[in-house]
């Protein structure tokens, strides 16, 4: 499936099959979660990152079903196609944004998602305690979501943020790496 077709499908599903919700509600809800985690872990931002990732992972495991049901997408032929689908259909359908796919490595196993806008991070300024700017990945839940969804369709990936506008970087960039295709494995003990 070509990039333009992916964009069309994303646009189409977004317009016809998605229940919309107020963007500020989402922003503030996500903000409360992150702020509460920061309080609960008393400013241990590395742990907060981990927790956000885990929450995202659990969302991803479920979200893939919803995604497939709404979009009727078929199987992607290769990882490049997967990337286009994530950016132009996945993000479009659930967050109404289309990050740019860029910076492919030559083996086609690693790419970046560049976010021009990020509805989760509206209004946000990281605490100026001298650590949050270097340690907290505010939108880390998104990484977990990608890991969860792709795992359900037999792709083990590693996703992490490489830069974030909130930290004062130029762009918000997420790096996604394909670790391996999960083959159909027999359940243990059924040989």
């Amino acid at each position: 499936m070509s990039a333009t077709k992916a964009a069309r499908v994303g646009e189409d599903v977004w317009k016809t099959r998605i229940d919309k919700v107020n963007a500020e509600l989402v922003t503030l809800t996500y903000g409360s979660i992150v702020a509460q985690l920061c309080r609960d872990f008393e400013g241990d931002y590395l742990e907060v990152n981990k927790q956000l990732e885990k929450m995202g992972y659990n969302i991803g495991l479920r979200l893939i079903e919803d995604f497939l049901a709404k979009t009727n997408m078929g199987k992607c032929a290769n990882f490049r196609e997967t990337a286009e689908t994530i950016a132009k259909v996945g993000f479009k359908v659930f967050l109404n944004i289309t990050p740019t796919v860029a910076n492919w490595t030559t083996d086609n196993k690693q790419f970046s998602l560049i976010f021009e806008e990020n509805p989760l991070a509206d209004f946000v300024e990281l605490p100026d305690d001298g650590r949050a700017q270097n340690e907290l990945w505010y939108s880390n839940m998104l990484c977990g979501v990608l890991r969860g969804t792709l795992e359900m369709v037999q792709m083990q990936v590693d996703a992490h943020f490489a830069s974030d506008i909130l930290r004062g970087n130029e762009v918000t960039e997420m790096r996604v790496t394909l670790v391996r295709i999960i083959d159909d494995e027999l359940p243990p003990g059924e040989d």
Partner: protein, 141 residues
């Protein structure tokens, strides 16, 4: 014309303050309070809080115009729905410009409040907020 601007929280605690001069009529936007006057500004603004709390029940709008006077100085107040007070000390009457300024600052304050890491009554240390307030001052005052 010089201005002293303060935001006061719900527990009468200061959460932000700034000084600026007029940018109208060729002003350079720099405050020209005499040195002994500068330290008085905070007192004058603080002492007007009592009057604000009286006037607020008699005024239907958030913007209360000039609530207090001290010598040639006037204090204008804007009270937000969350009981945060914007107080502006100025030496000439300029109701309309001040209203526009307050409306802009209210917008900026709301955005600050939407930041999940900011809590009501916390001091506003954001440089972005500071810059935007000064921009608004430059535009209207």
């Amino acid at each position: 014309m010089s201005f002293y601007f303060a935001i006061v929280g719900t527990k009468d605690n200061p959460i932000y303050e700034a000084e600026f001069g007029t940018s109208k009529q060729g002003g350079d936007g720099v405050a020209r309070f005499r040195e002994e006057q500068r330290s008085m500004n905070q007192f004058i603004v603080h002492s007007s809080l009592d009057i604000v709390e009286e006037v607020q029940w008699a005024t239907p709008t958030m913007y209360m115009k000039c609530v207090d006077k001290f010598n040639n100085l006037q204090v204008s107040c804007f009270l937000t729905a969350g009981n945060i007070k914007f107080l502006l000390l100025h030496d000439q009457k300029a109701d309309d410009a001040i209203r526009q300024f307050f409306t802009d600052v209210y917008d900026l304050y709301t955005k600050t409040l939407m930041n999940p890491f900011y809590e009501v009554d916390m001091r506003i240390t954001s440089g972005v907020f500071d810059g935007k307030v000064k921009q608004a001052a430059k535009k209207y005052l």
